[in-house]
Amino acid sequence: MTEYISLGQYIPVESFLHRLDPRIKILSTLMLTIALISADTMLELALLAIALLVLSSLSNIKIAEYWKGITPFLFIIFITAVIKIFLVSGNSVLSVWLINITAEGLKSALNLSIRLILIIYSAQILLLTTSIVSLTDGLGLLLRPLELMRFPVHELVMIMTISLRFIPVLLNESRRIRLAQISRGIDFQEGSIWERTQTYFAILVPLINASFQKANDLAEAMEARGYTAGKKRNRLYELNLSRSDYIYLFIISMLLSGIIMYHAVYPCQF
């Protein structure tokens, strides 16, 4: 069943956004985030929201999937907004005892929540359409200039890829062990908390055992195929930028420079 477990939020379908180079998508997300942070009027946010909706419609993924990724953050966004309401001073609309709610406070809380939701939304565009492997791949290539400063980019990316790759494997393994232990009569639901904690050793010990075994196997397999750390290497699959990559990058940078220019013409109003 391993092949059915997809890590993160990646949804494997065919679309324009799925075909884009991961580097382009990472850069675009970065630019969109900068645009969202520097935008501060409702008009700008509305424009960016429309732009994001258009972009996400290129992904062949239902908007409900995007919403699923946002819901876990709603509580934190709500708390942040509430704090914001009380912290901004201005014309009072409601004043009870020490609490003073201002029109400016409400406005900036709304502004902040929309901005945060849009930032998560733009991250979703990246995460839903890019598999973890190509994400780390793209990140590795983008960080490559750091190699000049003797920063071990390749090793870092390798560690990241392997640990991410092993999460579903270990998840599967722990599920398998759990079922195996249940089928030999070990009850994970019965007993006091202390007893149940002990019962979990029945999963933990074999799982840790298996992880060491798997790590060892992997290291040996990599060495057997000629992998040594710290050598200059080339890639089996070169990532090549296509015309659509450039067009996409161009559109996003236009969006960002539009926002920045807007600020140059109409300086910040808050």
Partner: protein, 281 residues
Amino acid sequence: MPIKAENVVYTYQAKAVYARKALQDITFQIDEGETVGIIGRAGAGKTTLLKLLNGLLKPDAGRLFIDEIDSSTIKKNSSVLIKKAGLVWQFPEQQLFETTVYKELVFGLKSQHLDSAEQNKRVREALEQVGLDYERFHNRQPSTLSTGEKRRLSIACFLVLKPRYLLLDEAMAGLDASGTERLIELLSRLNRKDRVGIIITGHHLGQLSRLCNRIMLLEEGRLLVDSPTAELTDYYNILMERGFTLPVHQEVLYQLKGRGWDINSRVHDAEEAVQRILSSL
């Protein structure tokens, strides 16, 4: 009491895009004390079938009775079926975790609330059943045992629960020739002496047919062959096409029959085959 499957269907991730039919319309009955070998390619549904018999999965359609318990009526992860039919997973030694053999065996009994005398008795019996000496082994650390011993210990972990059936998933995998030999010996003894029904999956028809009196062939979730081991030659072509070679004595009789000999190719073991050849010479 027998195991009865009536038109059992099971689909993995039924609602998802990845939905994969693992079992389609399976019907059979396995009587108490039978030894059944299930063969089939990887992904044919062998393991799924064992999980259903053990209650880890429930059929999507059709009915499944184990000892007259309808498997669709029991709660998820309930131990009712587990006590009836213990499922020994592939590489069961990987699930050993306790510090001594004794503790390992007792752990599964915790939920049964037995007194310590009864626990002790069961542990001794189970170790004896798998041919490990209690005095020598009960204080050993499971991780220091050999692979064959570990596998026998993990089978003992099921036997302490006194199951009516033992379901084994690829039990011979990773064992050397003598380890396999001893395991087959152990399982047939369990079946003969203690009337434990054995249902075992595997790829090696020769090995399974020495242990089992009945062979089932699954293909893409369907039951293609369900035959007494002695009558496997009736399915010669079906089996050969899928790469399952008959035991040598059956193969020889089948070939002789093909060359015009007037001989019955249904045969239980090599000895019987030899006798039959000699008498028709």
